[in-house]
């Protein structure tokens, strides 16, 4: 587990290149900085200045080496490396509110942008006009789209939004691809079709009365695309399996809301959020249940020294408890909320390393093997 502090400002979003030697991140301003790894040090090699508003989403396409960024200035830019310089191309998204998240499709021939205009823009490159064109998915989204994730078949797109629902849409563009084959989520997939919708009016949740709900902060498809996980602002994490639309397994956790989630194997997922440490959840497909797997963080060794009576009363005075821990700050590696998780090695089926960035401006790379050995009752199935 290595913690690197880039800056004091929060990292709004980040993305890695294909061989994980460079990271593009936004230090909560209008630019994108690209850092290159030199052994254990990070040096800034590029500054991408084009946006007029905070950059809210970055995605680096591994094969074609293009970066797409989107921001609160309602624009998106596709950056290509020409020699030693990154050159931007504007993409007109036709939205009238800020863009919130962006993601390249698996084949990198299109990307999706979620925005505050209550729609998703699917953008693809039109060869005749040499220009990026976009199509909108509007119905039935009723509020800001906060998170997106593509299905491995390059057509289905999961979107979590502020109207408390997680949905799977079809983003089939006939100009750039063939008709997709049937999947567990459905077989008819015209553009904009909703193949799955979570929530009280759709299907009932596992725990709780299903009448609540919160903004859906993070969504993630599993490696095969058959399972979809999402985290919500009411401190729940839920998993749905395609095909069995009447079963959504959800777990109401005892922690603060989780902001981001990613599958690390087909049955385990890691999520992190306002509690500043990543958490493991295990999904049992046969029972349809989500269980809490463990807290993934470096256990701190606190010194066991006696506490004097004077200190006890002082603690009672200041903090209303007479406990011995004199920890003034958080015990976790991150000192503020974690806003994004990305898988580094191993893909979503057998992840061996993943990385988290947060509002404390720091980035931590977590190694799954050493976590398993350090925390004894952790079991990643």
């Amino acid at each position: 587990m290595s913690y690197h502090s880039f800056l004091l400002e929060p990292i709004s979003c980040h993305s890695w290149n294909k061989d994980r030697t460079q990271i593009a991140l936004c230090p909560n301003n209008h630019d994108v900085h690209i850092y290159k790894k030199d052994g254990t040090k990070w040096t800034k090699i590029h500054e991408l200045k084009e946006h007029n508003g905070q950059v809210t989403g970055i995605d680096w396409a591994p094969e074609s080496n293009r970066i797409v960024t989107c921001g609160t200035d309602r624009n998106a830019y596709v950056w290509s490396l020409k020699g030693e310089v990154w050159k931007p191309t504007l993409v007109i998204l036709r939205i009238n509110r800020a863009a919130r998240c962006v993601s390249w499709s698996p084949k990198e021939n299109k990307f999706a942008v979620g925005s505050g205009s209550r729609l998703i823009s699917i953008c693809y490159f039109e060869q005749e006009n040499d220009w990026w064109v976009c199509k909108h998915i509007k119905k039935p989204i009723r509020s800001t789209v906060l998170s997106l994730d593509w299905h491995p078949n390059n057509v289905l797109l999961a979107a979590g939004s502020c109207d408390f629902k997680c949905r799977v849409f079809s983003a089939y563009i006939k100009e750039v691809e063939e008709k997709p084959g049937p999947t567990v989520w459905g077989s008819k997939m015209p553009f904009g079709e909703v193949l799955f919708e979570s929530g009280p009016s759709g299907v009932s949740g596992g725990a709780g009365d299903g009448a609540g709900g919160g903004w859906v902060h993070g969504v993630c498809f599993s490696h095969s695309g058959n399972r979809l996980a999402w985290t919500s602002h009411d401190s729940t994490v839920a998993i749905a399996e395609g095909g069995k639309t009447s079963t959504i397994s959800s777990l109401s956790s005892e922690t603060l809301p989780l902001l981001c989630v990613s599958f690390i194997t087909e049955n385990s997922l890691v999520a992190a959020g306002h509690d500043c440490y990543p958490v493991l959840f295990v999904y049992d497909g046969t029972k349809g249940s989500v269980t809490f797997g463990g807290k993934l963080d470096v256990p701190k060794q606190t010194s066991q020294r006696g506490i004097s009576a004077r200190e006890r009363f002082q603690n009672l005075d200041r903090r209303a408890t007479s406990s011995e821990t004199t920890e003034q700050g958080l015990e976790s590696l991150h000192k503020n909320s974690i806003s994004q998780i990305s898988v580094l090695e191993g893909g979503k089926s057998k992840c061996s390393t993943f990385c988290t960035t947060g509002m404390d401006g720091g980035m931590v790379t977590w190694d799954v093997k050493s976590l398993e050995s350090a925390l004894k009752d952790l079991k990643i199935v």
Binding site: S143, T236, S252
Partner: protein
């Protein structure tokens, strides 16, 4: 330069009111759960059977109705049960609830906090401490984000 640079009346205009695609709540008119039965609870309290009274009070919460009278009535009954508990009995009562029960109890506790009476706050704080030990911060977050509350 724009003409009316002095008037700032336009700043008080709510632009989203004029949007055709405005989010309108789905009105769920299904009249379900009327809340716990006051007479039955009263009997149980007189007999001293607090656990049963507690469980019955938390059954059938009026979450879906828009009628405030029903909600007030249910709240009053639940608060009556909660304040009649002895301090030592609180912990086993909380332990006997499942996850959604703890969330519901937390909702009632916070509703009780809204209108403090003479000695309700002290006992409610004890309930809060025990419920928090079981439900954690997540149960409080669920009270804050719940859209259909009791």
């Amino acid at each position: 330069m724009a003409k009316n640079t002095l008037s700032s009346r336009f700043r008080k205009l709510d632009i989203d009111e004029f949007d055709e695609n405005k989010f309108v709540e789905d009105h769920d008119e299904t009249v379900d759960n009327q809340g716990p039965d006051g007479a039955e609870i009263g009997n149980l309290i007189r007999r001293g059977d607090m656990m049963t009274a507690f469980h019955i009070a938390l059954r059938n919460p009026p979450v879906n109705t828009k009628n405030p009278a029903i909600k007030e009535r249910a709240l009053a009954i639940v608060l009556r049960v909660l304040t009649s508990f002895k301090s030592s009995d609180i912990e086993p009562a909380v332990k006997s609830l499942d996850r959604s029960g703890v969330d519901l109890l937390m909702e009632y506790i916070y509703r009780g906090f809204e209108k403090p009476s003479d000695n309700s706050s002290a006992i409610l704080l004890q309930w809060h401490e025990k419920a928090f030990a079981v439900g954690g911060l997540g149960s409080i977050v669920r009270v804050l984000t719940a859209r259909k509350t009791v």
